[in-house]
C-alpha cells in the first residue's frame, strides 16, 4: 500500500509543505482511548500516522516512549490489539495512511506471514521495525510484500553511502531519517544538512521524513523547509500523559493542528 503513503507525500508537496507524520503509542493510556486519540489526530491534519506497538524491551526508545509502552502493556495492549485497533479506525472511516512501528520479536512470534496477512487485512499501509536493519529486513519485507504492505527503512547520521544505496531496492514509500544519534526524545533536533537529505532522496528514490527531537511548531517549520516529511513523536506522547485520559484526544489534537499549520513553507 505504497500508493496511499506516496500520495500523502505528493499531496503535501503540491501544497508546498512537508507531510506531518504523527507518532503515537497504541494502548497509551489505554487501548480504547488511544484509538480515539489516533482518530482525533487524523482529523486534526496529520498526513501519516505512525502507530507504535508496545514492547517490553524498547532499547531504541527514550524515557517518554518507554513509559508510554509500559503504561500500554499494563493496560493490556498487544500486537494483535494494535492490528485490531487499525481495523477499528478504518471502520470509523479514518483514511489516513498508517505505519505500524515496532520491535521485531512480537511480529516474529506471530509469524511474519501471519502478521503480514493480518496487517494487510486491517488496513495497515506499512511497517517500520526498529531492530530490522536492511541486512535483516528480508525475512519480514518478503511476506509483507506478498500482501502489499510496504516497509519503511531507517537512515541514521552514521549510515554510510553504501548502506543508503541499498535502500533503492526497497521502493519504500518514504525513508525515515533519524536526525541525531541517540534514542527517541533525548535531545533537541540538530539542523540537518539539506545536501545529506538530497543524497538520501536520490540514492533511495523515496521521499525523506526527518524525525527525533522535533517537538514544537517552530521546530516543524524549520524542518518543513528542507524535508519531505516531519515526524513528531515524543512531544505527542508527552501530551497524552499530561492530563486525564478523557482529555487526551483533544490535548493531542490541539498540538497536531498547530504542527500542521506550521508545515506550509513560506
Amino acid at each position: 500500500m505504497t500508493a496511499q503513503l506516496r500520495a500523502a507525500f505528493d499531496n503535501a508537496a503540491k501544497e508546498n509543505r512537508a507531510a506531518l507524520v504523527a507518532y503515537l503509542t497504541f494502548g497509551d493510556p489505554d487501548p480504547k482511548t488511544s484509538i480515539d486519540i489516533v482518530e482525533a489526530v487524523a482529523q486534526a491534519g496529520a498526513d501519516v500516522i505512525e502507530l507504535g506497538v508496545p514492547f517490553s524491551d524498547p532499547s531504541a526508545d527514550g524515557p517518554s516512549i518507554q513509559r508510554a509502552m509500559e503504561r500500554a502493556l499494563i493496560a493490556g495492549a498487544s500486537l494483535p490489539g494494535a492490528i485490531a485497533a487499525v481495523a477499528e479506525l478504518r471502520r470509523r472511516g479514518v483514511k489516513t495512511p498508517i505505519v505500524l512501528f515496532g520491535y521485531y520479536n512480537p511480529m516474529f512470534v506471530m509469524g511474519p506471514a501471519t502478521f503480514a496477512e493480518r496487517a494487510a487485512r486491517a488496513g495497515i499501509d506499512a511497517v517500520l521495525t526498529v531492530d530490522l536493519p536492511i541486512d535483516e529486513l528480508d525475512e519480514l519485507a518478503g511476506p509483507l510484500a506478498t500482501y502489499g504492505v510496504s516497509v519503511i527503512p531507517l537512515v541514521a547520521p552514521t549510515s554510510t553511502p553504501d548502506r543508503i544505496a541499498r535502500l533503492a531496492g526497497l521502493h519504500a514509500p518514504f525513508v525515515y531519517y533519524i536526525s541525531l544519534t541517540g534514542v527517541t526524545g533525548s535531545r533537541a533536533a540538530a539542523p540537518v544538512d539539506p545536501a545529506r537529505l538530497a543524497q538520501i532522496r536520490t540514492a533511495s528514490g523515496s521521499p525523506v521524513a526527518v524525525g527525533f527531537g522535533i517537538r514544537t511548531p517552530d521546530d516543524a517549520r524549520r524542518f518543513s523547509a528542507v524535508t519531505d516529511g516531519v515526524v513528531v513523536g515524543t512531544a505527542l506522547v508527552d501530551r497524552v500523559a499530561a492530563g486525564d485520559a478523557a482529555g487526551a484526544p483533544a490535548r493531542v489534537a490541539e498540538l497536531v493542528r498547530a504542527l500542521a499549520a506550521a508545515m506550509t513553507r513560506s
Binding site: S56, G76, Y104, M110, P133, D135, A156, T158
Partner: protein
C-alpha cells in the same frame, strides 16, 4: 601452537550466524559501529601481536592458566572422575575477566576512549571496571535496580574501581533492562564508546568474539586434561546464563565427537512454576538484544512476543535470552541443556564447600548440581570437567538468608 593458530581452528559464524541463529538485529544507528567492530575483530583475531598482548595480561594480571583440579572427594560423592576448571581463582573471581581483557585491548586498538557495560550479578561489571582502571579509561556500568540491591557488595567494588554505576529502573529491573540501557547509551555515544558485552549474547560479532576470548578456558583445559589424565574428557559441564563460560569451555572440543557438552540453566522455582531462566529448555526462538536465538517470550494473544520475566536465585543466570551458538548446538544436538532449581543449586554449593573446601558462585553451583546426572551417563570411570565459573563471596548474603542465618 600459538594462540592465534588455536583460535583460527574455532568455528567462524557464516554471515554472522551459527546455523539460523545470531545476526544483527539492531537499530540502523549502530550498524556502522558493529561493522567497524567486526572488521577490527577479524584483524585482531589473526594478529599475533594482539594475542601476545592479551596473553601477557592473562598470565601476569589475571593469573592464568587457571588450575584444573582433580576433585577426588566430590568425585566419590557423584560417582565419576570430576575435574574442576578453576575460573574462580582468576583475578576478580570469575571467568568474566578473560573477555574483558580481550575486549579492552581491542577497544584501545580501535581508539575508543570510553567503556560501557551491562551487568547482572555484578561480576562482569566488576571485571569491566577493573580493566577500565587498568587501562585508565572512564567506565559506566548499567545494572538493574533489583540487582543493585541483591549484589550490593559488587556495586561497592565497581565504585571503588572508579566506575559509575547506573541503577536501571525500567522493565523488570534486572540484567535484560540493564542491557537495554547500555544499548541506549551506545546509540547515543557511538563514536567514542566501546560497548563491552559480558556474554556470548548481543549482535554479531559479539557472540563470536566473546566465545573466542573465553575459549582460553577450554584451550587450557584440553592441554591440562591430556597432561593429567592422559585422555580427553567424556563430558564438559557448565552453567549457562548468556552462555559465555560454557561456550568458552566447549568450543575447543567441538570436533571431538566423544566429548559430551552439558549446559545447565537455572530452573529457578521449577520450570513448571513459570519462575525460571531455562531459556533453551523451555523457551522458543525469538529476537532479543540484537540476535535471533532462544528467548523466554510470551505466545498468547494478550502478551504476544513480549519478553517474559526470568527468575533465578543467581543474578548472573537471570536472563531471558541465550547466546546463538548454544541455540545452534541445541538444535544440532551437539550439546544438551538441562536445568537445576534454586534449591538444587544451593545444595550443590554446600556439597562442593564440604567435600572440597571451595565456595563457588550460585551460578556455578547449577553446573555442580547436574554432576550426578552426568556421572550416571559417563559412569564411574568417566572423566568430567566442570567449568567452575566463579567464586561465591558475592553470594554469601543470599546464601546466609536462604539458610536462615540472616534475615
Amino acid at each position: 601452537m600459538s594462540t592465534a593458530d588455536e583460535i583460527a581452528k574455532l568455528i567462524e559464524p557464516t554471515r554472522g550466524r551459527f546455523g539460523e541463529f545470531g545476526g544483527q538485529y539492531v537499530a540502523e544507528t549502530l550498524m556502522p559501529a558493529i561493522a567497524q567492530l567486526e572488521t577490527a575483530w577479524r584483524v585482531a583475531r589473526d594478529d599475533a601481536s594482539y594475542w601476545a598482548e592479551v596473553d601477557d595480561l592473562l598470565k601476569n594480571y589475571v593469573g592464568r592458566p587457571s588450575l584444573l583440579y582433580h576433585a577426588r572427594r566430590l568425585s566419590a560423592e557423584v560417582g565419576a572422575d570430576v575435574y574442576l576448571k578453576r575460573e574462580d581463582l582468576n583475578h576478580t573471581g570469575a571467568h568474566k575477566i578473560n573477555n574483558c581483557i580481550g575486549q579492552a585491548v581491542l577497544a584501545r586498538r580501535m581508539g575508543k576512549r570510553r567503556l560501557i557495560a551491562e551487568t547482572g550479578a555484578g561480576q562482569h561489571g566488576v571485571a569491566t571496571a577493573t580493566v577500565a582502571a587498568l587501562f585508565g579509561l572512564p567506565c559506566e556500568i548499567y545494572m538493574g535496580a533489583e540487582d543493585v540491591v541483591r549484589q550490593s557488595l559488587n556495586v561497592e567494588r565497581m565504585k571503588l574501581l572508579g566506575a559509575t554505576v547506573h541503577p536501571v529502573e525500567s522493565g523488570t529491573r534486572t540484567l535484560k533492562d540493564a542491557m537495554n540501557e547500555a544499548l541506549r547509551d551506545w546509540v547515543t555515544n557511538v563514536s567514542d564508546t566501546f560497548y563491552l558485552i559480558g556474554s556470548v549474547a548481543g549482535p554479531h560479532p559479539y557472540p563470536w568474539m566473546v566465545r573466542d576470548l573465553q575459549s582460553v578456558i577450554g584451550r587450557e583445559a584440553r592441554r591440562q586434561i591430556l597432561d593429567i589424565a592422559g585422555r580427553l574428557p567424556d563430558a564438559l559441564v557448565a552453567c549457562v546464563g548468556g552462555g559465555s563460560n560454557a561456550a568458552g569451555l566447549f568450543a575447543p572440543f567441538v570436533d571431538e565427537a566423544s566429548v559430551r557438552f552439558v549446559g545447565v540453566e537455572a530452573a529457578g522455582e521449577g520450570v513448571e512454576s513459570g519462575r525460571h531462566a531455562a531459556t533453551l529448555g523451555a523457551g522458543r526462538i525469538g529476537v532479543l538484544h540484537g540476535s535471533k536465538s532462544y528467548v523466554l517470550t510470551h505466545e498468547d494473544d494478550e502478551r504476544m512476543g513480549q519478553i517474559a520475566h526470568a527468575h533465578s536465585i543467581s543474578a548472573g543466570l537471570d536472563y531471558p535470552g541465550v547466546g546463538p551458538e548454544h541455540a545452534a548446538w541445541k538444535v544440532s544436538g551437539r550439546a544438551v541443556y538441562v536445568a537445576r532449581t534454586d534449591d538444587q543449586a544451593l545444595a550443590a554449593l554446600e556439597l562442593l564447600a564440604r567435600t572440597e573446601g571451595i565456595l563457588c558462585a550460585l551460578e556455578t553451583a547449577h553446573a555442580v548440581a547436574a554432576l550426578d546426572e552426568v556421572a550416571s551417563i559417563v559412569g564411574k570411570s568417566g572423566v568430567i570437567i566442570v567449568g567452575l565459573s566463579g567464586r561465591g563471596d558475592k553470594d554469601m548474603v543470599t546464601v546466609a538468608q536462604r539458610r536462615g542465618a540472616l534475615p
